[in-house]
Each structure stands twice: as structure tokens, then as C-alpha cells.
Amino acid sequence: MTKLSTLALSAALIAFAGAAAAEDLRIGFADPVSAIDPQLNNYAGDHSVSQHFFPAIVAQKTIGGMAPGLATAWKNTSPTTWEFKIRDKAVWTDGKPVTAEDIAFSYERAQNVPGSVASFKSFLRSVAKVEVKDPQTLVITTKEPDPLLPINISSIYIVSKHIGQTATTDDYNSGKAMVVDGPYAFVSYTPGDRIEMKRNDTYWGEKAEWDKVSYRYIANPAARTAALLSGDVDMIDKVSFSDIEKLEKNPKVKVWSYPGLRALILQPSFNPAPSKFITDKAGKPLDKNPLLDVRVRRALNMAINREAIADRVARGGVTVATQWMPADTFGYNPDYAKIAVDPTKAKALLAEAGYPDGFKLTMHVPGERYPLAPETAQAVAQFWTRIGVETQVEVVPFSVYVTGANKNDYAMSVIGWGNGTGEGTYAMTSILATNDNARGLGASNWGRYSNPKLDEALAKAGAEFDDPKREAIIKDAVKVVMDDVGIIPLYHYKNIWASRPDLKVVPWNSDRTVAMQVSKVK
């Protein structure tokens, strides 16, 4: 009875909302927004908001590749110089034209906004100088050849020079400095609650679909689902894995799930000293780290039934990963599309490596950082225990975890890796390259994996401008790492939105949540 009346009520609410505000869109989103100033903090929520107001000069396509933004075309005049042609029709909402001056100013400002705690600086680390050749031409010189420059600057949003020169972050937040050139214009911002926007009729691109957009912050996944079901919002992002099955059965809701770039990966420790988290069955420490033996790593890798985890633990909210990039992306190696599950062979490999009775291992996982990670770790522990590697799962708060992981204290750590650039070298740089803090390599290589062949491939890929050649180098690197089991990839999270049934949601820059990705079904 209660269920029936709730259903009827939500149906009525949805119908009412649909009739009353046909051209308005209300989004319930999960990532906190720290400011409307597009250059203050490099945060996921801030990125999503900025995409409405301040397009970058190039845009990232959803699965790999670049699309025009404020720049219509770009080319290398030498390996270290890039020339960008800026659109001549682009204007700010105050009527002034968008020029190369604005872009040069934005790259300057993005590197030193007072009060920034997560600066955009790293996206511009290879840039030596930015020059304005004429109002429609921008020339960027890099310190060394950098094929990833367009991807990197796709994350820097362009503000106007004439307003931005004197504007502070507060001026953007209050709306005083919100002279924009994106598909939507600013109406109001209530920190921690919502951002209201309206269509920008002077936008240079395709006319925006919605008259008004209300972009509301709802941190709790259950509250987001409830808001959608009650008709408070028309669309939500980051649908909780536990709600997928329920929502898919509900005819008043449509679930949109797309393969995503973010991977969950295990990093075995390559510490030469024996780990206190690996012991023999009696609990006595071993005289060496068994994970240094490739046969042990292979055994662990092939013992895991990834399909079972994807289906039973993640309820279909993930796709099985056999390498760091998901299928059909730049650098994915189709020769390594499957890892055969073979516990018998895994046991044989362990025996061959000198561990016929296996050993005891403690795996560490942060409690709240990566969705599903503790549950997944327990399932992995089951598979390993069955081949004789008795595995304990230690769930620790992220702040404690990241300190331990960074010091390579743990025998087995877990990392959620975003693959934000949409291509394979980002993971190679940060989680696979030999750790070298001075050169910014292997910053998240928590297992301290080190393979000269991988380092060499990374250096080669970094200097290769020909895309097919660069992709071949990355594919070879996949072979090197996966034959060696330098990491144990488990799955890629899907990006999941849910909406009213009369809306269509397409993915946007992989996992951004924006009004531009939502349209009415005609």
C-alpha cells in the first residue's frame, strides 16, 4: 500500500514537473564545487561547472581524440611550437570579441590564482612561452617536444582578459566577473547548494537545449536517487552501485551507463626487503618478498575471477579490466583482452616458485575513497585464499592509507586511476614508470614497480608526434607490463547517470556532468 502510493505520488510529481517546466533542466550532481572561478581549483566538480561557461581552446572527445574548442585548427610548426587558429565569431556576453590575448592571459592567470589549493599549473608544465601572433593566432612553445599539449590545455578554461585582470575569485563567485562565452550564462551561485544558469544566446557553437538549468549539489548517493524518484531533479550522476538494479526496474526512470576510463588496480610491492605483511602459514616472516617472483604475480593474476567480481560484487557497474586502459581507447592492446581464470595452474606456478603451501598476505585498501574497493578486495582475497595465498583485508582511512602506500609499506595496495587524458601514457607516467620524484615520474607507483623497457617506451612515446606510431609504442608497453604482471588491473568503473524517461543522456568528456549532455527525446 505504502509502496503503491509512493509510486503514484512520484509518478504524479514527475508528470507535474514535466508539464510545469518543459524547457528547464534540474541536475543533481555528486562532486563538490569549490568555486565558480574556473582557474581556482583543479577539482572534478569545478571542471563540470566551468564547461558550461568557459570553453577551453580544444575539447576532449569522450573516448580519445581532440575536438575543436575556441581554436578551430592547430598544427606543429616545429616539434616544440604549436600554432592555434582562434575562432573569429566568438564573443563574450558583454559583446567584446574573444581573442588570442584572452587565452594568453588565462594561461598566465591559471598558474597563480591566490587561494588555490589544487592548481592547474601541472597542465602547463611543458609550456615555455605563450605568444599572441595576431588576435586570431596563438603560438605556444614547449620546453621539449610534447604530443600531449592539446590534451593538457583542454583542462584550462579561458576567461576574458579585460574582466579577469582585476577580478578576484569572489568576483566570479558573486557573478560580477561572470562574462562568459560558453553555451550557458551565469545566473546565481549558492555555495554548497546550487548554481543557476540560463541559455547564452551569443554562444558561438550549437544553441543550448535548455532555457534554464539548475545545477544542484547532492553529495549522498541515496539522497540523489531519492531526489530523482521524487521528481526534485530531472537527472542525477554517479548513481550508487546498490541502486542500479532498483532503478533499472523502475519504468519512471532511465539509467544511462557508459564504459568509463577510471580503473581499479592492485599494485604488488616490489620492495626488495621482506614485507611484514607477508608471512608463511605459521605467521613467521619470509626471508624474501615472494612478489618479486614473476611466477607468483602471474599466479595471483590468473586466480582472480574478474567476471564474477563485475557481476556479483559490482552488479554490472564495471567492465572487466585486463590492462590499464579500457577497450577501444588510445593505447589499448587487443592481444591482451582476456586473462584466463585458472586456479589449478596458479597453484602449480606457486609450487614452481617455491611456495607449494602458499603464504599469508595482508592487502590494504582505503575505506571510503574508491567505490566498491573494500568489497572487491574481499572477493580477491577469496580467490587468492583458494590457491593457498591466505589473504587478509585491512580497511584503513584514506589519510592513513596514502601515507603507507607512498612509503611502499604495504605488500599489496589498491589504486583507483582516472586515466584522465584518455590515452595510455598518463598511467605509464604516474603508476608504472620507475619512481623518480625529481622528474615527476611514478608519483603513484605505490608498489615501486620498475622495468627499464617500460621507462624506455614512455620516453619514446613522449617524443613521438605520429599518432599511429605512438599508439604502437603504448601497445608494446601493455605487453611488457602485463607479461610481467607489474600491476594487477581489476576493472574499469562505468559512468552512470539516471534521468526522467523522456530525456537522453550521452557521456561528456568521459565523466563530466553537464547540461550539454542532456537532451529531450523527440
Partner: protein, 299 residues
Amino acid sequence: MTTVPAASARRPANSALRRFLRAPSALIGLGLLGLLVIGAVFAPQIAPQNPFDLAAIDVLDARLQPGSTSMGTDITYLLGTDGQGRDLFSAILYGLRTSLTVGVGSALLAGLIGILLGLIAAWSGGFIDALIMRLVDLIMSLPSILVALLMLALLGRGIGNVVLTLVLLEWAYYARTARAQALVERKRDYFEAARGLGLPTSRILLRHVLPNCLPPLLVIAALQVARAITLEATLSFLGLGAPVTQPSLGLLIANGFQFMLSGEYWISFFPGLTLLAAIVAINLVGDRLREVLDPRALK
């Protein structure tokens, strides 16, 4: 004449037991508690599966409905399975074991420390009395869940640390009651007589004063067991108690509560029901114990 002391010694105990059993609620509580204790003690014999053995559970059997049969083995999951494929019936029995061990263990340990400190305070008076009793006031004025969270954040999770935390929080209740009771007993004639005989302090306190203080302390112990079980469940629910691969009742509830709305009610529901039954049973017994042992209630 010789039979008189013996008879008078037996009669109150007998009548207390008889009076205890006169209340139906106490009988129900005792019966329920007996059932749960038997289940917990003989868990390895009763449970179809060892839920703490990762090799015995299978993630392919995850989230099966009550009454389903396993795909790999011939186990029937009477109460269904949790998100890792653990048989919930087995997990509840083992979880109950953890809960009761923590509850009884911490209550006993806290009782030992608390009573000893209470007696010392009552005996010594003066500065030591003041010191111990201000410490008691301090502990009792702090919200227990906050202290527990802080302790476990410092010590790290684990059953041993939970017991330690509970002991720290609970000893004060025993100490206060033990002291108050001992102060009353101090004014009795037998106390003066024992002192007059020149008996050693420890003997007077432990053999003469303590037995006479016991009734109210027993009531406190019963209620503290229930409190400890609740607190352990709360801490495990928040992810600070039992290790994830050895779930207690609180952790089982935590693992399932996000699926309540998806229709998979059993993961949280049955452990929750068991926890409720255990706490109600202990409270019923404790309440009746108080009615029976409280001299004022006799009138």
C-alpha cells in the same frame, strides 16, 4: 542450633531464584539468552559453513535469497547470503560469538578493575578516594561513542582494541557502585568485628565486604554486557570494530543496509533481528535481577 546458619544462608538464595523465575518476562529472556548462547558456543558445530574462512565462501553465491542453494556446494542458505557470498545463518552465529565474547569479556574485565578501584577508594578515603572518584566522574561525563571513536582511530580497528576501549568506558560504573556499597558496609558491625580481629585489609575487603556488595554489581554487570554489545555493534557498523573478513553482527548490518531499498533486505535484517534479540534478552534478565536483588523492591 548448628543448622540455623546453614539454613538462613540457603533460604535467601533459594527464594531469590524462585522470585526471579516467577516473572514470565524473565523466563522468556532467560530462554532466549540460553538459545543464543548455545548457538554462539556451538557455532562451529551448528553452522553449515565457516564464514571466516575465505576459501569456504564463494562470491558467485553473493546476495542469494533466503532458502537458495549454493551453485558450487550443497549448502542451503537458510537466511540467504551477503554481498561476499557468506551464508548469513553461519555468519550470524559466528558474529554472535564475537558480540557475546566482546560483551562478556569487557564486562568482566571492567568489573574486575572497577570493583577493585571502588573498594580501594572506599577503604582509603581522602586523596586517593577523591582522585579515583573524579576520574570516574570524568569518564562518565564523556559521551561514550565519541571516546570510542577517538580510541579506535588512535589504536586502529580490531576486536582486542574494541574490548580495551569498552573496558576504559565501563569500569567507572562498577567503581562508583562498589564504593557506595562498600561505604555502607563499612558501618556494619561485622566490619568492625573483622577489624577488631586484626584481619589483613585485603582479606576484609575481598572476603567480607565484597560478597555483601555483589548484588547491585551483578545487576550492573548484566546491563553493561548489553551496553557493550550495542557499542561493539555500533563501532563495527561504522567500520572501526571487527575486521572485514571476520564480520560481527554490526558489520553484517553495515554491509547490507545500503541494499535494503533494493529489495535485498535479508543481509541487514536477520543480523539486526539477532542483535535485537540478544540485547532484549539480556535486558530482561538484568531487569528482573535488579527487582529480585534490590532490597527496596522486596517490600
